[in-house]
Structure formats: structure tokens, C-alpha cells
């Protein structure tokens, strides 16, 4: 009986942690190379943990990443915040020969799809996550 209660407690905590981790959706990245021995890379991460991962990045690396472009983070935040106010929209679509690029929003996600003869890339990223990430980076950036 005690064992069952412990299992229930652990199971409940795991479920709650899972539900919390996915409450903001998930970051999905897929890269498929179109050649015989081409790689296929897929990433599926709960959006809530991405901004937390910033804490693991050394401050020096952040300084290097944003050196010379102090506007990037406020711009990213404004963009993600504003995009949430619009319905599903196709913002950019470019087709040139066999290359096709689309930038759009779907159900609170920013989607970037790139198809070329060499590879296919799909990125789906919750706008809420971009906002959180930009805010977190702003706090930890050297200018803060």
C-alpha cells in the first residue's frame, strides 16, 4: 500500500511536470537532407524549458552572440508580442525554381518551412516561447 502511494506521488509529479513543460507548446525542428546518405535530424522540445536553458549558456557566449546588434532582442520581443495579435497568416512566401520558403503563423506558432533540392527544413516555434526567450536573453545580455 505504501509502495502504491509512493508510486502515485512520483507518477503524479512526473505528469504534472510534463503538463507544465508542454503548456506553452513545443519547439519542433526537422532537417532532412535529400541525398542517398543524407541525415534526418528532428528536435522536439517543450517550449517552456528553452528560455530556462539560457541559464546554462556562459555569459561570455551571450556577449559574443549579441555584440554589435543590441537591437535584435527588443526587435524580437516586439515582433513576437505583436504577431500573437494576428490570426493565422502567411507573411512571406518565396518560390524560385525548386526552392520554396514560407514564413507564417499557425495557432500561436511561428513556422518557417524551407524546401530546396538539397534539403527540407521545418521549424515551428511557439510565439510565447520566442517572447520568453527574448525577455530572458535581454535580462542576461551584457547591456542589462
Amino acid at each position: 500500500m505504501l509502495l502504491a502511494k509512493i508510486a502515485l506521488g512520483i507518477g503524479g509529479s512526473v505528469v504534472l511536470a510534463g503538463v507544465y513543460a508542454f503548456h506553452e507548446g513545443a519547439l519542433r525542428v526537422s532537417v532532412q537532407e535529400h541525398r542517398p546518405d543524407g541525415a534526418h535530424f528532428s528536435l522536439f522540445l517543450p517550449a517552456a524549458i528553452v528560455p530556462l536553458a539560457v541559464h546554462a549558456v556562459p555569459r561570455q557566449e551571450l556577449e559574443n552572440a549579441f555584440r554589435g546588434d543590441a537591437n535584435a532582442l527588443p526587435l524580437l520581443r516586439t515582433l513576437s508580442k505583436e504577431l500573437k495579435n494576428y490570426p493565422n497568416s502567411d507573411f512571406v512566401e518565396v518560390r524560385d525554381g525548386e526552392e520554396h520558403v514560407r514564413v507564417r503563423t499557425r495557432d500561436g506558432n511561428l513556422q518557417i518551412d524551407v524546401e530546396t533540392p538539397q534539403e527540407t527544413v521545418h521549424v515551428a516555434c511557439p510565439l510565447e516561447m520566442i517572447d520568453d526567450l527574448a525577455r530572458e536573453l535581454e535580462v542576461r545580455s551584457p547591456a542589462a
Binding site: G18, S30, N71, Y86, D90
Partner: protein, 214 residues
């Protein structure tokens, strides 16, 4: 709490957990890529104004560009961009770009004049017409080619209020943010059309979030 209540509470808790696990399993079953089935773009919210850019190339490559930009978004994002040329929604013009012409004087002259044609040039190579019609600055250029299919037609329509707003900053600045603000208040407007042998370009403003033809 008696044994029955404890058992019922444990059963209720377990059922909730099972439901949550089942819901999580459903979401985890979704393949990571490609993105989930797409719903079509939703109609724009009433009152939103969208700037559209549409480029259609001719065969064989048939290149295509579609840009749909909410004016409100551009107005809010522009002040966040700061670089050498664009600052606080204003574009700095260099003296070279101005070609020693005082744009403000020219526009003032156009604004204060009555509707009509200002410039008409007709030659074997080009036809150019600059006019003002009902508060709109109209520029038409027709570049002639031996093969009529290769000829280029350019038509630009800019409401004078937008031109005024664009020039409302300093002498050597264009206030893009102010121009967008005024543009947002305009009705559906065809701004630029370019047609030549290779491609067609359209820039226009309306209340839809899609650039596909109705």
C-alpha cells in the same frame, strides 16, 4: 476520514492522473515534423490594414514572391530598428541620394497645385506621365521595346497625405513610420504595379491577410 473516503479519493486521483497521462501520450504521439496539418489563413481582424507585395515571374522559372504585412505591425516594429540608415522609423537620406534636389520644395509645389498633369514626356523609348488626381500623386512610365511583350509598364499611386507624412521629418529624412500611420487610415489602395516581359509586381493595401486573388 474513513477508509472508504480515502479509497474514493485515491481512485479519483488515479483517474485524473490516467486522464492526464492519456492526454500527454496523445500529444507525444504527434510526429515532430513536418508541422501539423495546416489550417488556411484566417480572415484578418476587422480594421487591420495589410500591405501586400506580390511578384509573379514568367516561365520557365516562374519565380513567385508573396509578402503580407500588417501595417500596425510595421508601425510598432519600425521604432525598434536602429541602424545607420533607419532610426526611430525614419530613413536618413544622404546628399548623394538627394541628387542635390530639394524634394520638399518639389512636393510643396505639387501639393499646392491643382489636379492635373505636371510632366508628360513622350519619346520613342519612354512615355512618362506625372499627375495629381483627387489627392493622389500618379506616376506612369511606359518603357517601349521592339517586342511589345518585353515593354515595361510602371504605375505608382501615392496619396498626397502619405507623401506629406513621409516628408514631415527633417530636411534629409523620410518619416516612414508617419507615412505608414497615414497609409493605415487609407481605404483599399493600389500603390505600385510593374509589368514587364519577365515579371509582374503589385504592391497594394487592403483589409485581407492574404495576397491571393479573390
Amino acid at each position: 476520514m474513513n477508509k472508504l473516503s480515502r479509497t474514493l479519493a485515491a481512485l479519483a486521483g488515479a483517474s485524473l492522473l490516467l486522464l492526464a497521462v492519456s492526454a500527454l501520450a496523445q500529444s507525444a504521439k504527434q510526429p515532430p515534423a513536418p508541422p501539423p496539418p495546416q489550417s488556411a489563413p484566417a480572415p484578418a481582424v476587422k480594421g487591420d490594414r495589410w500591405l501586400h507585395i506580390r511578384v509573379d515571374g514568367s516561365a520557365p522559372k516562374k519565380e513567385m514572391v508573396r509578402v503580407n504585412l500588417p501595417i500596425e505591425l510595421a508601425i510598432k516594429v519600425l521604432p525598434a530598428i536602429h541602424n545607420e540608415h533607419l532610426n526611430n522609423g525614419r530613413v536618413k537620406l544622404s546628399a548623394q541620394e538627394m541628387h542635390d534636389a530639394d524634394l520638399r520644395v518639389i512636393i510643396d509645389a505639387v501639393r499646392s497645385s491643382k489636379d492635373g498633369e505636371f510632366v508628360t514626356v513622350q519619346s520613342n523609348e519612354h512615355d512618362v506621365r506625372v499627375a495629381k488626381q483627387g489627392g493622389t500623386l500618379l506616376i506612369r512610365v511606359h518603357e517601349k521595346k521592339a517586342d511589345k511583350k518585353e515593354a515595361t509598364h510602371v504605375e505608382v499611386r501615392v496619396p498626397m497625405k502619405v507623401v506629406d507624412a513621409l516628408l514631415s521629418a527633417g530636411h534629409d529624412e523620410l518619416d516612414v513610420a508617419a507615412a505608414l500611420n497615414v497609409l493605415a487610415a487609407q481605404g483599399d489602395t493600389e500603390l505600385v504595379t510593374v509589368k514587364d516581359g519577365e515579371q509582374t509586381v503589385r504592391i497594394w493595401l487592403d483589409g485581407r491577410n492574404s495576397s491571393e486573388e479573390l
